[in-house]
């Protein structure tokens, strides 16, 4: 098939420039990783960088966390309005901000950007966002139980920290003095500025090599390409409205469930994601600013449509996100936003669920869904220093056409985050791990089974230990698709002697020496009716202990020969016909 495309520029030059822009973003991020002070940035990759042209259109992005998908343009636009227009940017200026209602994220996420000038002309912007260790606020690192934004730290509107190449030391001091870790945040600030400089330098090299006009023409062609890739996929989705909804267990403050309601409207080549009807903004900290809500919708879209191709302004052109003000997805002052990502994992899964009837091949059953945080704090035995360790726990992912969901994998919004090895945990903190392994029978049954949750048991080794928990998704555990069943929900047990109690969320609570905290994460949803799963695969799962013999019969309708690892096909077939 020969398609009739119109090009402004030679497609070869366009492709060379496109690759150069992508690697410019990669180099910005590499530069940020390399020079950041805090492991949150260079190890947990809680950061993102973007390169824009002079119209604040995205040229290339390199995201550390998946939910930072193209959300920095809003920050630049707001600043431009505030300073009275593009003409008021100067070469060498650097701006900073962290206001949740502009950036969409929590106050720890600091946005830094700088305009790029070439031969005295504004040609673009380099922007970065990174999580700072501490920005003031009532608790070190950020509170776990805030009820308004003023408890969460210093709130910075768009403000200049470099003017025409010279640092405004007074402003920088004002910001860093509000942190408990001044040296670290100053280091991270410098790393973000260095990343902007890297972007600036490389973008100017590209312009110098190819000429500004050529680069601009190529950029138009690149946007067109991205737009075509997306509209090509959207136009194949039948027009209509697709809906899904689910609940967060609560906002951490009250015990009321928090509703997330999604309506996806497809019209021709456009897609609208309407979140109207989702919960009003809540007293607890699970509120999110609009910019991050948009970013999460883009993640779902990208997951479904083009997981591999780099993002530009051309993508998402046909996407509109609607979230009424003063709801959890478009929070306004004074809503607490520290746990802004709490609802986003659920939102992403729900968008996929809504579209699954028309995107069966691309869709995936829900995953266990949340970060499943267990945090210990107290006094170390050796140094007597205070310690704090928050563990993000893995769980099961959803099945999809072609394969079972993965078992024991960190949740979606945390991207490439790794678990902490038992041997490191035990040497740094007064804790002993007694068990770490899969939780059998937790994956939602299906033709493709959901992945398994995990179980991790800790023993507390001294008296000064406190535990905090944030476990969610018991009210809406990972659902199945196309007849697949739900995965099992999470739970946590705390054993103190013979006394055993179940918890989901807990503020820092003291434990006695010898107490045991046993956390169990949920499994992923199944895909397709489990009675249609290949009996031999069910048998393999029994042999490997992922499911029990009982579940093989009850959930999958597979009867094994007594005392043997062998399928009785005749009985299986009868049972499946009878009990379906």
């Amino acid at each position: 098939m020969i398609l009739d495309y119109w090009y402004l520029e030679n497609p070869i030059t366009t492709e060379i420039i496109r690759n150069a822009l992508i690697s410019t973003a990669d180099e910005m991020n590499t530069s940020l990783f390399r020079s950041a002070y805090s492991p949150i940035i260079y190890e947990m990759k809680d950061c993102s960088v973007c390169l824009f042209n002079k119209n604040v259109e995205l040229l290339a992005q390199s995201a550390g966390l998946p939910i930072f998908l193209g959300n920095l343009d809003e920050c630049i636009d707001t600043t431009t309005k505030l300073i009275g227009g593009m003409e008021n940017y100067n070469e060498g200026d650097v701006y900073i901000m962290n206001d949740s209602y502009i950036t969409g994220a929590h106050l720890n996420d600091i946005t830094v950007f700088s305009p790029i000038f070439y031969k005295n002309k504004l040609v673009g912007f380099a922007a970065t966002r990174a999580h700072w260790l501490d920005v003031g606020g009532k608790d070190p690192g950020g509170p776990m139980d805030s009820i308004d934004i003023y408890q969460e730290g210093i709130r910075i509107p768009p403000i200049k920290i470099y003017e025409k190449g010279f640092p405004r030391q007074d402003v920088i001091a004002l910001i860093t003095r509000n942190s408990r870790f001044k040296e670290s945040v100053l280091g991270d600030l410098n790393a973000q500025i260095a990343a902007c400089r890297t972007g600036e330098m490389r973008f100017k090299e590209i312009i110098k090599k190819f000429g500004l006009e050529t680069v601009e023409r190529c950029i138009s062609d690149i946007f067109k390409q991205s737009e075509r890739i997306d509209s090509n996929v959207i136009s194949k989705i039948p027009d209509g409205e697709y809906k899904a909804e689910g609940y967060l267990d609560n906002d951490g403050f009250s015990d009321d469930p928090v509703l997330v309601k999604v309506k996806v409207i497809i019209t021709g080549e456009s897609i609208t994601i309407d979140l109207t009807g989702s919960s009003k903004q809540v007293q607890g900290m699970t509120n999110c600013g609009m910019a991050q809500t948009i970013a999460a919708c883009r993640v779902a879209f990208k997951d479904l449509i083009s997981p591999d191709s780099p993002v530009t302004e051309g993508n998402f052109k046909k996407m509109e996100v609607i979230a009424p003000e003063k709801t959890i997805f478009n929070a306004k002052e004074p809503a607490a936003c520290q746990w802004y990502f709490g609802s986003l994992g659920l939102l992403i899964d729900l968008i996929i669920k809504a579209l699954s009837p028309v995107l069966k091949e691309q869709s995936v059953a829900a995953h266990f869904g949340d970060s499943m945080i267990v945090a210990f704090s107290g006094q170390g035995e050796r140094t007597n220093e205070l310690y704090y360790i928050a563990e993000t726990n893995a769980g099961g992912w959803g099945g999809f056409m072609g394969n079972d969901g993965e078992s024991g994998l960190i949740n979606h919004v945390n991207g490439d985050l790794k678990n902490l090895p038992v041997e490191i945990l035990e040497s740094k903190y007064p804790l002993k791990v007694e068990k770490y392994g899969f939780r059998s029978d937790t994956g939602g049954p299906g033709i493709q089974r959901g992945g398994l949750g995990i179980k991790r048991a800790y023993q507390v080794l001294n008296n000064n230990t406190k535990v905090a928990l944030w476990f969610d998704r018991t009210k809406t555990p990972a659902w199945g698709l196309f007849g697949g069943k739900s995965g099992k929900e999470p739970e946590v047990f705390i054993h103190d002697g013979d006394n055993v109690k179940r918890f989901y969320k807990l503020n820092a609570t003291p434990l006695n020496k010898g107490s045991r905290v046993v956390i169990k994460t949920g499994g992923g949803g199944g895909f397709g009716h489990p009675f249609n799963r290949d009996p031999d695969l069910v048998l393999q799962d029994v042999i490997d202990g992922y499911i029990s013999k009982g579940a093989a019969r009850d959930k999958y309708g597979v009867i094994l020969e007594k005392g043997l690892f062998k399928v009785n096909y005749r009985k299986t077939s009868n049972y499946r016909n009878k009990c379906r």
Binding site: E227, P307, E423
Partner: protein
């Protein structure tokens, strides 16, 4: 070619690849290298080796040193054809191998699956025991329960078993006890103890390393045993040396105990050869590119030392074993050109070797970089391998035409475009790599080898602002040559976590001494005398709160407060160099202590003593039409064998070699140095 030098002694290097076995013979008297390429004899690899060797020398008795790079281990892993094996873990932790680090490197892939484990869960057993973090035994090994596991091991007839118990890096007693007990009950089973393979903390990484060792050990061992017998038959009864992933060599006896160190045995030779060429040409910093039909690998030589990493990742599995760092950043000559949203893309999809590029005529329909090179006149229809493999111009034309029509460009414009995009993209990837290392590519020279490397090297260098490109003599069998330049090397490591301010100097000294004794014994076993041994101590340090460490040399025999102060100072300096900043008031902790032990072998004399500058210009082999920057130019073609020391030529020109084609555009000067290397300089 061996006629006149009967009395001399040779050094022999052999590299077995998937298709070819490369043999290189170094004549120590006149300093000349002889090379031979034979087909790899699959099924009986040692036969191919000996066939190649006997083509070069009549009497293997003249060979006093035989080093060999093998890919049997690597292939077993890549093809998932390893041994039938079991894994034994601490009770309560059966799933640590399958859970791994629970991370998802492809952040927009909701269908992500971890690499499928080398051992299924049903083959993973638990043993009741527990050592706690300080190394003390909380629960002794339950041998009654272990008997039950052993029954299963016998029933299932495993060839190999890996044992990885919690905190064995701190106290290996339980692993030893379990290993010895199993060995007594099942004498023929291959046993891999995690602390012997990688004595470092982090249970998943250590287990993964032990599993890979166990997975390939029986295969590597039987291959080496067979090779030993056959070489003994031929009179090659001196020690057989094996190239290691860490850039050193070891005797085959040692290789059998640590199969994992043979993993990158082949590819590493190229980096070592580059380091050697750097030494000869006074280039301390090199970017080494190895491009073949299906791969594009980059490694670095910094300050004359190959860039070695203590942790690497293969097929998604972590390996805690020192290896020369080889970055795979592309897919080589088989990278496919395709269209997306109306835009041209090159790679990362690859036609691989089957069906391969369209011009191979094996049914491949997609245009690849190789097809573009053929259309442009850089490659010939006669192909590369001395005419063994023809390339079909018509098929290449058809495949590129398909893309050209959609782009509304001419076929030749498109072919050149595919090549340009590929070169620019490879340069971009190399630049990002250097940024992450904090180095500037413009301070480096480029060394290119592998079949397709020299075809693209100069263009890639141009994009990177690199002025000098070196194409080594016999670039096609460069890995084998690199192996001849290496010493025996053996590394050891101990995890030793302590604040630097509170360090127990005696403990530290004892661990270093323990490792040096361990390595010393292994080196002695390889006939290295005390005087020829060298030990380098290093420490992996970090600021408290960091996860990753910086390796800092500890050049002292003793630990003293003074020396520890010095170590502290050097850490701040290294941290600044590596990460662009440091924190002189931050507290530092040690994580691992390491010793690299070297046994000097008296490396080949590199002087080509008879080299004389040629006073005549070389003969032109042919003139052919090649497209350079959109213009057809009648371009001279030379054969590499016609070039001699002192020849100077100016681009554009093409040089043909049996395994490779060297492309030199306009604006570059070529000089042949006394070692027959091609030095290409920007004018």
């Amino acid at each position: 070619m061996e006629g006149e030098v009967v009395l001399t002694r040779y050094r022999l290097g052999v590299d077995i690849g998937g298709t070819f076995t490369d043999v290189i013979l170094h004549d120590k008297v006149d300093g000349i290298y002889y090379t031979e390429k034979t087909l790899t004899t699959l099924g009986n690899l040692s036969k191919g080796v000996l066939k190649g060797v006997t083509k070069l020398v009549n009497d293997v008795d003249d060979v006093d040193y035989f080093v060999h790079g093998t890919t049997v281990g690597l292939n077993a892993l890549l093809e998932r054809k390893g041994s039938k094996m079991a894994l034994i873990l601490t009770s309560g932790f059966r799933d640590i191998y399958e859970i791994g680090r629970a991370n998802r490197p492809e952040i927009y892939n909701i269908k992500y699956r971890k690499p499928s484990p080398l051992i299924r869960r049903r083959h993973i057993y638990e043993v009741e025991e527990r050592i706690i973090v300080d190394g003390s035994i909380e629960t002794p090994v339950n041998f009654k329960q272990l008997d039950f596991v052993i029954k299963k091991l016998i029933e299932n007839d495993y060839d190999s078993v890996a044992i990885s118990l919690l905190h064995s890096y701190r106290n290996p007693t339980h692993e030893r006890q379990v290993g010895e007990y199993i060995k007594r009950k099942i004498p023929n089973i291959s046993v891999s103890l995690s602390h012997e393979i990688a004595r470092e903390w982090r249970e998943y990484e250590r287990t993964s390393t032990a599993v890979i060792n166990g997975y390939i050990a029986p295969i590597v061992n039987s291959y080496l045993s067979e090779l030993e017998v056959e070489t003994l038959d031929k009179g090659l009864n001196r020690n057989l040396y094996i190239m290691q992933s860490n850039g050193g060599v070891m005797t085959s006896e040692v290789a059998k105990k640590g199969a994992i160190q043979t993993l990158m045995s082949g590819p590493v030779g190229g980096t070592m050869g580059s380091a050697n060429i750097g030494e000869l040409t006074d280039e301390k910093n090199l970017i080494c590119i190895d491009m073949g039909g299906t791969s594009f690998d980059v490694s670095l030589v910094i300050d004359s030392e190959p860039d070695v990493t203590s942790e690497t990742n293969l097929e998604g599995f972590p390996i805690l074993s020192p290896m020369v760092k080889i970055h795979t950043i592309g897919t080589g000559g088989g990278s496919i050109a395709w269209l997306e949203g109306g835009g041209l893309r090159v790679g990362p999809k690859s036609a691989g070797s089957d069906p391969g590029p369209a011009c191979y005529g094996n049914g491949g329909e997609h245009a690849t970089i190789t097809d573009a090179n053929l259309l442009l006149g850089i490659l010939d229809s006669d192909g590369l391998l001395d005419g063994d493999m023809k390339l079909n111009y018509q098929l290449a034309h058809k495949s590129v035409e398909n893309i050209a029509n959609q782009l509304k460009l001419s076929v030749m414009e498109t072919a050149e475009g595919i090549r340009d995009v590929a070169n620019a993209k490879m340069a971009d990837a190399i630049r990002t790599l250097t940024v992450s290392k904090g180095i500037d590519p413009r301070d480096f020279s480029l060394v290119a080898f592998g079949g397709a490397g020299p075809m693209h090297a100069v263009s890639i260098a141009q994009y990177l602002g690199i002025k000098k490109v070196i194409i080594p003599h016999a670039a096609g069998i460069f890995s084998a040559r690199g192996m001849l330049q290496t010493d025996i090397k053996h590394d050891s490591v101990r995890t030793f976590v302590s604040l630097l301010d509170e360090i127990d100097i005696n403990d530290m000294n004892n661990l270093y001494k323990e490792m040096e004794k361990e390595i010393g014994d292994i080196l002695s076993g390889q006939n290295i005398k005390k005087a020829e041994m060298q030990f380098n101590r290093t420490a992996d340090l970090r600021y408290v709160g960091q996860e990753y460490t910086v390796s800092v040399p500890y050049p002292f025999d003793q630990a003293s407060d003074q020396n520890v102060k010095q170590l502290q100072h050097m850490f701040h300096v290294e941290h600044l160099k590596t990460y662009g900043h440091n924190n002189p008031s931050g507290s530092i902790e040690t994580v691992n202590l390491r010793v690299n032990g070297y046994g000097q072998l008296g490396i080949a004399d590199n002087q080509n003593k008879f080299a004389l500058k040629a006073d005549e210009a070389p003969n032109t082999y042919s003139i052919k039409t090649v497209i350079w920057d959109g213009t057809q130019i009648e371009t001279p073609v030379y054969l590499v064998n016609d070039l001699s020391y002192g020849n100077v030529l100016y681009g554009p020109l093409i040089i043909k070699e049996s395994t490779s084609t060297i492309v030199i555009p306009k604006g570059y000067k070529l000089e042949i140095d006394r070692f027959q290397n091609m030095i290409i300089m920007q004018l």
